[in-house]
Symmetry: C2
Subunit: 396 residues, 2 copies
């Protein structure tokens, strides 16, 4: 298997032919049958057969599954995927006090995931060196060659301008004005792509998760902050300065408290899990995390159930705001708050119904907005950073 | 000139050839040079020349302008447009107490515009009959054949579901649940296309006005109500139930007054011109319209200036909300409030700067959001209804 072959095919300048098209499709979607490829790409079945044969012969594509029809007759269906050994991607997530690193093969299997604590307010140069060492160690441990790396995706806890510059109002204030690509590319020696963590989460969910196959949806992240992403026509809406989907900074409360962004009354001051955690931590006389509060609520602790519901109620008003702007057909609820499942979702949807101006009874069921919990609550941003590489290299 | 020829070309089932493609392009853009057609369509120059010659011979396209280069040498540039005599469109706008009817040729020249008062809470059947009579009279007066009608676009003061059904919370409550197409098509005997008035306004501005050539922008309508439209990738975002861009119903104030939609604290309760008009009407002891208040403000009346500025301040907070969701590169401000020009725009932009979390100094000028006043304040919804026909027939 030529590791650099896939890299050339995904990123080469002549990318309009059937071979790179099919490779990009498999890169973005994972395993597909020839029928699915035909439906998605519009390519002729005979072309697809020829290209698949060629790619299998060169070792870049493998058959991963074969199913027979449910009634046991007829031809079996084969599913094809990029050969996991033919290329790998690195995802990095920069959060409040360190970074997470994930190595995945092009079939989206996670080969290695690790966390590197760097302390609050860590410096960009330190992050870049730490990432380089972690990536090298992970590749060595898995017996992989760094020549097969297709790229590095970086997910950032804060808004990012389209050129890769971190904006103010992020969770990592020391990075304001720094260009992620300029920080990481020289140290890692790999092509680097960057986006906001919630935009990455949306990419993970639309590529492999709860929004697979959806062209238009909104991701709402409920955690110690509030974030989100707007997907329209299959693309994440960045906004002219990278401020699209920054739901945490919706100015919801004219006389509200001061936010880290410098404004008053931002949605995340009241609709994140922070107020609930502060309250619960006081009651329990120990610092509680979202996971702790959710566990208490699930065990039937009435106060914890109430705190989750009140957080959902305030978030639902934010969803009502988003509804009047976008009226999305689907909300994917992510973030650690979503671990609460229906304990969060039910009061959230009720609050949305109360604050959105089109009521459930106003429209037929097909025009009602659906709500689902995200599939990758534990590592959606990291997985999405990998998806970012595949989308960018594949020019999706 | 064959009037039905253009109708067939714009709406025919075989619409992928170079002839219908070029006709659709001219239908949507107005006059274009061959170079502009080549840039926009990607068609070869030789193909364009051949198709233009064919369409000119059949009378469907005419040369409308010829320019020489600024230094007077070189070949002159010709601009071509659809022959105004080859097809016409009707635009209808349904508002609070009647309808407006506009007839335009395919070059977007307005041939006739009229207003038909029907009284508050008028019935759909009456509106359809009145529209039919007005259209017939307008065509007769202009010596036009109804066989040349390409379609009728209907703009509605309220949200419309994608299937053409009027939602609750519109300015015309009796129409709730009525399907615009089913009301008008049998009576008019023409293909009918319908959308919300602000979405129509956005189509007018993006086709011929302040947002021409912009793929992504937000239209904000400041009038006795507040409305808007979201344009992404060159298409108006309808929302799953037609609620996209309904900025008037953003739940901005948790403890606010009751809105006609049944919710509390909707943006238009405070950010429309209604509170300012009520206040000014009390002071002046006569009912004032927006035009009156704007005239007073422009003449230097300090109270009127202040009322316009306060309206803008409250609307600016709404724009800050939209900013955190979409971060658009361009806001087009329309509605009669926009007649106030800078008296509205300056405090509006200042308020936006205060409520949006990315500040002017945070980003280079290229990433800053621009604000412009709409071009068609007097009849943008009507013109957009015409644009709706051209877009739908042209499958733009």
């Amino acid at each position: 298997v030529k590791a650099s072959g896939l890299r050339d095919l995904l990123g080469g300048s002549d990318s309009s032919g059937p071979v790179p098209r099919l490779v990009r499709l498999l890169g973005a979607r994972g395993a597909m049958s020839p029928a699915q490829i035909a439906r998605t790409s519009g390519m002729a079945r005979s072309t697809i057969s020829g290209v698949l044969a060629e790619l299998r012969a060169s070792g870049m594509v493998v058959e991963v599954r074969r199913t027979t029809s449910s009634h046991g007759v007829g031809r079996p269906t084969s599913f094809f995927a990029l050969n996991p050994e033919a290329g790998t991607c690195v995802g990095i997530h920069l959060d409040f006090e360190g970074l997470q690193v994930l190595v995945a093969d092009v079939s989206h299997s996670v080969l290695q995931e690790s966390r590197i604590p760097l302390g609050v307010d860590y410096a960009p140069a330190l992050a870049a060196r730490s990432a380089r060492d972690a990536v090298a160690a992970a590749y060595k441990r898995n017996g992989l060659s760094l020549r097969g790396v297709l790229g590095v995706g970086v997910s950032v806890s804060g808004p990012i301008a389209p050129d890769g510059r971190v904006q103010r109002a992020s969770m990592i204030p020391r990075w304001a004005g720094k260009n992620i690509r300029e920080v990481f590319e020289p140290v890692l020696g790999q092509p680097v792509f960057a986006d906001n963590e919630s935009n990455c989460a949306a990419i993970a969910e639309m590529t492999w998760g709860a929004a697979a196959g959806e062209d238009d949806f909104v991701l709402f992240k409920s955690d110690v902050g509030v974030g989100g992403a707007v997907v329209v026509h299959g693309r994440v809406l960045a906004g002219v300065a990278g401020g699209g989907g920054e739901f945490g900074h919706i100015p919801i409360d004219a006389d509200g408290g001061m936010c880290r962004c410098g404004n008053r009354g931002c949605l995340e001051l009241t609709a994140s899990f922070l107020p609930a955690l502060e309250r619960a931590s006081r009651s329990h006389r120990r610092p509680l995390k979202i996971e702790d509060l959710v566990a208490l609520a699930k065990s039937g602790d009435a106060a914890a159930v109430r705190l989750v519901a009140e957080t959902a109620e305030r978030a639902g008003r934010g969803l009502g705001v988003i509804g009047a702007v976008l009226n999305p057909g689907l909300f994917v609820i992510s973030g650690r708050g979503a671990y609460a499942g229906d304990l969060l979702l039910k009061p959230l949807v009720e609050s949305y119904q109360r604050h959105f101006f089109i009521k459930r009874d106003d429209v037929p069921a097909a025009l009602a907005t659906r709500f689902v919990i995200g599939k990758f609550l534990a590592n959606d941003s990291l997985l999405g950073a990998v998806g970012l590489v595949l989308r960018h290299r594949g020019r999706l």
